[in-house]
Amino acid sequence: MKAHLTRRYIFSASHRLHCDELTGEQNRAVYGKCNNPHGHGHNYALEVTVSGQVNPATGMVCNLLELDEAVRREVQDRFDHVNLNLCPEFKAAVPTTENLSEVIFQILQRTFCSAHLERVRLEETAMNSFEYCGS
């Protein structure tokens, strides 16, 4: 039997949305307050969904401790309490939550192999959330 397991994690980071190819005026028009020069921060809530056959011996899709460890090591240690604009992942991309979802999906797909990665869902605030399920 195939089941989907979702685990939720929290991290906090700052960012500024700014595109070098746009003028200052265009950046302000596109990004609004998110373009303020010194940036701002969010408490991000990350939901990671994995899927797979339930192992009859353990009753599990994957070992939760392994998933927690992978997300802590690969996502939280990398992005918690940092300025996203200074991370190598955002050297050439604007750290919108869309792009962050995709980056996190790709990192986890590369580093967590104990189950199939179905989806990453990222809440930037309680009002905004973004999902990425791979290309």
Binding site: T6, G59, V61
Partner: protein, 138 residues
Amino acid sequence: MPMVYLTRKCEFSASHYYHNPEFTEEENQRIFGKCANLNGHGHNYTLEVTVKGDVDPRTGFVVDLKELKEILNREVLDALDHRHLNKEVPEFATQIPTTENLAIAIWNRLESRMHIARLHRVRVYELPDLFVDFYGEP
């Protein structure tokens, strides 16, 4: 008619432990951690049951919620609420009552008796930050 999905939410509280007698004690500890404590522990589970179907043009309903609630009470809550899953629920005499197996067991209990609508998804929250979805996939 357009397909509409309806979700009903309910809560139950139960105790359980994770232990496979075919594993050594060390393996049980390593794989299941604190959940392997044979004295058990408990959770407040949240169950979301999603059914799907056409909207009945006369009633405007996908499903009669009173009937759905009765089925949930009878088939799921009466059997699981304030119970010890390992000791009192027959499915877990041989299976480990993980959230994955619990979602599958609830699906199986509902599907055979859900004559009023088509079951789409069973979602079981063990904690606010951990849930399992089962769609009846083999």
